[in-house]
Amino acid sequence: MSTPETSTVSEALPPRRLDPRTILIRSLQGSPSVILGIPVVLAWSRGDGVPVAFLLAGMALLLVVMLFFSWLRWRTFTYQILPGQVVITRGLITRTRRSIPAERIQDVSIKQGLLSRLIGLAEVRIETGGGAEDEGRLDSVSLSEAYRLREVLRGIRTGVTAAGASGHTGEDEAETLLFRMGFARLLGSGLFNFSLVWIVAIFGILQFFGQALGYDGDRWLEVVGIAERALESRLNASVLLSVAGLAIGLGLLAGVIRTVLQTYGFRLTHAGERFRYRRGLLTRTEVVVARRQIQLGLVERGTVSGRLGWSAFKVQTLGGSDHVSGRQELAPFARPAELAPIIALAGLPPFERSPLRPVSQRHVLRGLVGFVILPTVVLLAATTIFPPAALLLFAMPFTLAVALLRRRCHRYALAATSVQVTRGVLRRRDWTVPYGNVQVVTVRRGPVQRLLGLATVRIDTAGGRGINGPHVHDLDEAQAAAFVGDLIERVKALGSSTPSNAH
């Protein structure tokens, strides 16, 4: 769209290098440790009388060495678009020549960090759906080159697929805006991202800088000691409340800041077989998700925001996600009515609540054992050695409530074209996994489960990691056997075609 490339398929330009400004960026990115080290070194050297000029010269030398290596890496890295493939060559002593066949290119995403945005560079990633992270990374090229590359690579990709398909996925198809987040909603969603973890992180950083700037640990302790003594005299309910209020306020602020940094200006657009989303305040990310890459859909409702009718829609893709779970967020904070058309366009069936069936009643029992009885025993034992551990016993009524509510929130069903699972007491998650994307089914029975005659069915999909998968916990053993048999039967009936291929 941005650059009219007509004869893209037959392009055979000589190999290109990355943008030379990459050298500068790389050495700057590598140098925070050097820059941060300056005050530390200065603080130490004050007593020893090492000449400051000498130290600075050493650091300059270090920077020059880093620049040289960055230059070397830039010099030896080339990429070339040939008919039907992309070739990336790199390495000085061991030359690596990697060719990515056009039919394996899923899509091209563009990412810009703060530094890159300032000087107009972008990182281009060629998504192949393979496991390797760095398979097709061009870090960095100029922004215009990034757009050009995307158009060209899409050209050779659709050139391949259009031969088989009807070819209606033209490049100049207009993108329709599916979802965007205004600033008011962004702030609103930030309020629900309340996190105390960030406060801890901030204090950690303050501590680090305090040390780096030459404050002694003793001085901190002294300050804390004075504060403590001052506080002790007037420590009462109102002080405690205001401290708690401050902590909550900081937690809210931290959540808002994090959300604004991550999802500022979120826009989801759709064209043909692709979604494209852009987000980020400082680091601008633009990711394209091809529909056939989508393995499963997940609607997540937060502990508080979910009760107020807000939810997030995520999809799991073969690759291309920065997140550890391998998921991509197509709508971070939306109403169900806004999500429905996105889910439909993603080729996923709607999540139906009525046919869902509960798991075994012993699910509650196992929750009681795992969440309440066992922790209580452990905590009581720990209290004999370390008395403050008793404080954690106050959490037990809370875990008891979770254990009791667990079964009510956990349901599953084999729908017409997908297996659907819902789980979670606080944060509720609804999974939709099309049968075509189920890879392996595993049935696990731990010692407690075997005692109770229960089994957990885990559904493995491509690209999924972590504990929050579409698993069905604690089915009755006979029920589990029937469920697995039925599921495998449906998977087989679909053969190996993914739902998007069937379209």
Binding site: G129, G326, V438, Q439, V440, V441, T442, V443, R444, R445, G446, P447, R450, G453, A455, R458, D460, T461, A462, G463, G464, R465, G469, E477, A478, A480, A481, V484, G485, I488, V491, K492, G495, S496, S497, T498, N501
Partner: protein, 160 residues
């Protein structure tokens, strides 16, 4: 026991030998370290020889005679032409079902111990992330190749 959607076949008798040899090698290392500790303690504090090594040897023999067969018995497999079932685990029992159409590629391998016992290992690679590799050890080489050929015939037209 209770969860068995298809009747499982036991693994080859030879695989029990393989497991025993492997366990014996592992225990041999442990026993060697225990013997060194024994010698050291005898030299320093005059402990009578075999105090440390003895219990280890007893436990090793018990393990090889009783525990290893238990583990072997828990393993099983079934190939129903359209899916492969692999069961294993002694304390936590795991039963994996791999639809044949989901297999990316297959290896049949045979290590030196396995070769002497006449068994082979069948490895199935899938596109899944948690179970990207499903391993079925302890079947005869002929059976492994049979299964491989049966699966190979079905995955040739898979899209990825």
């Amino acid at each position: 026991m209770a969860f068995e959607p298809v009747p499982l076949q036991p693994l080859e008798r030879g695989y029990l030998t393989v497991l025993r040899i492997r366990a014996a090698i592992g225990w041999l290392f442990v026993a060697a370290m225990a013997a060194v500790a024994d010698g050291f303690l005898q030299w320093r504090i005059g402990l009578s020889p075999g105090v440390v090594t003895g219990p280890f040897v007893v436990f090793a023999i018990l393990s090889i005679v009783f525990l290893v067969p238990g583990r072997w018995r828990r393993r099983g497999y079934a190939f129903t032409d359209r899916e492969l079932h692999v069961a294993s685990g002694w304390l936590t029992r795991v039963h994996i079902v791999v639809p044949v159409s989901r297999v990316q590629h297959i290896d049949v391998s045979q290590g030196p111990i396995e070769r002497s016992a006449g068994v082979a290992t069948l490895s199935l690679h899938t596109a899944g992330t948690e179970n990207s590799l499903v391993v079925l050890p302890g079947i005869s080489r002929r059976r492994a190749e049979e299964i491989r050929d049966a699966i190979r015939g079905r995955i040739s037209d898979a899209p990825w």
